[in-house]
Symmetry: C2
């Protein structure tokens, strides 16, 4: 082409070499899934763990002040990963709006709050990875709150991706029930296939080291 | 068959003749969509309208007490339809968790609260119809809250349907931008096809008079 050697008028897109070690905040590292993500990503990246009651740093995802203080304290980050968030499980027939709201405030708004704050502190080209779950598409009895919250998180990532600045990306990992959690949850997930947390952890790597954004990585 | 004349040991399933006039509560009747639903369903059913500031009855979907008082006052209903609920629209880059929560509390939890209360007062075989919107799947800039809320409503109906007792049904109508609303919203929905509110109203009839449950009726 004739203009191969002319000066580009636009800056070249920033290429982040994601095979280099990244500095990653992992919120919710104490859970079964968080531990697997820490183990898997920790072999190649620097992982800073935070949680309500465990990890290297304390954070309450229900509080703007707590999330902002944590991000200020940690300084520059390449990725923020959340495997945190509680839901309300219980029969629809006696569910209250307050119970439903508890899942909205915790797993949904808690992770959204983290993402909204992270967009301002992540390095250019950084990533945000949140956790939803299979109930968004495959409901179970007593799971109406979980279905709503998980679907909201998937749609939030879909929408947020088209607005994030500076090459930032956002994805959601949406796993089926973990094999490790079958003793606790198996009775509620009749006939649903489980998968080991270590396999789900691959999806977090795909989000953190890959190039996709706005996606739900479904691991079933 | 040999047992055609034997006594059924189970009660016959209740067949509701939905071509008969139903007694329907419509919340949000003052909006463009609500007016179209009232016009369409009103030709064959008894419509009781309620809203925060208009309609025959006052109701605040953010309040358990207000919703319960309304349902107590109205007595037996065959269907509850909502076209109510506000969202937060604004750039992701300066969105706060409180702004995001305003849409959760209003359009999402407000309609969920109505559904949770309605399940206790609807006649056997009755129906609940809520309103979501196309942004659940087709995001636009400034629409992250809308995408999350609408997707949550769709998944809530999917999940609630498997638990509702007494033959009750629940569906969500998820329309594209209304032609009547283009002057107000068209600039935000670049290149998206609109549809007249009267066409969307058909989906409410389908939910109220039909047999489906747990469904999202997408009108695009």
């Amino acid at each position: 082409m004739s203009n191969l050697n002319t000066t580009n008028r636009q800056a070249a897109p920033q290429i982040v070499d994601k095979s280099q070690p990244q500095r990653i905040l992992l919120v919710g590292a104490s859970g079964v899934l968080g531990q697997a993500v820490q183990r898997h990503l920790g072999s190649r990246h620097e992982i800073l763990t935070a949680g309500r009651g465990s990890g290297q740093y304390r954070v309450d995802l229900r509080s703007d002040a707590s999330v902002e203080a944590l991000l200020r304290e940690l300084g520059p980050l390449d990725a923020v990963v959340s495997t945190a968030g509680g839901l309300h499980f219980g029969p629809l027939t006696d569910m209250t709006a307050a119970q439903f709201d508890s899942g909205l405030q915790d797993k949904l708004l808690g992770q959204v709050r983290l993402a909204l704050a992270a967009q301002h502190v992540l390095r250019d080209g950084g990533s945000i990875t949140l956790t939803a779950g299979i109930l968004s598409r495959e409901p179970i009895p007593m799971g109406a709150n979980a279905s709503a919250v998980n679907a909201a998180l998937e749609a939030f990532a879909l929408a947020a991706a088209i607005e994030l600045p500076r090459g930032l990306r956002i994805n959601v990992v949406s796993p089926t029930v973990l094999t490790e959690s079958l003793p606790q949850y198996g009775a509620f997930m009749a006939g649903m296939e489980s998968t080991p947390a270590a396999r789900v952890a691959l999806a977090y790597q795909r989000s953190v080291e890959g190039g996709l954004t706005g996606r739900t990585f479904s691991v079933v």
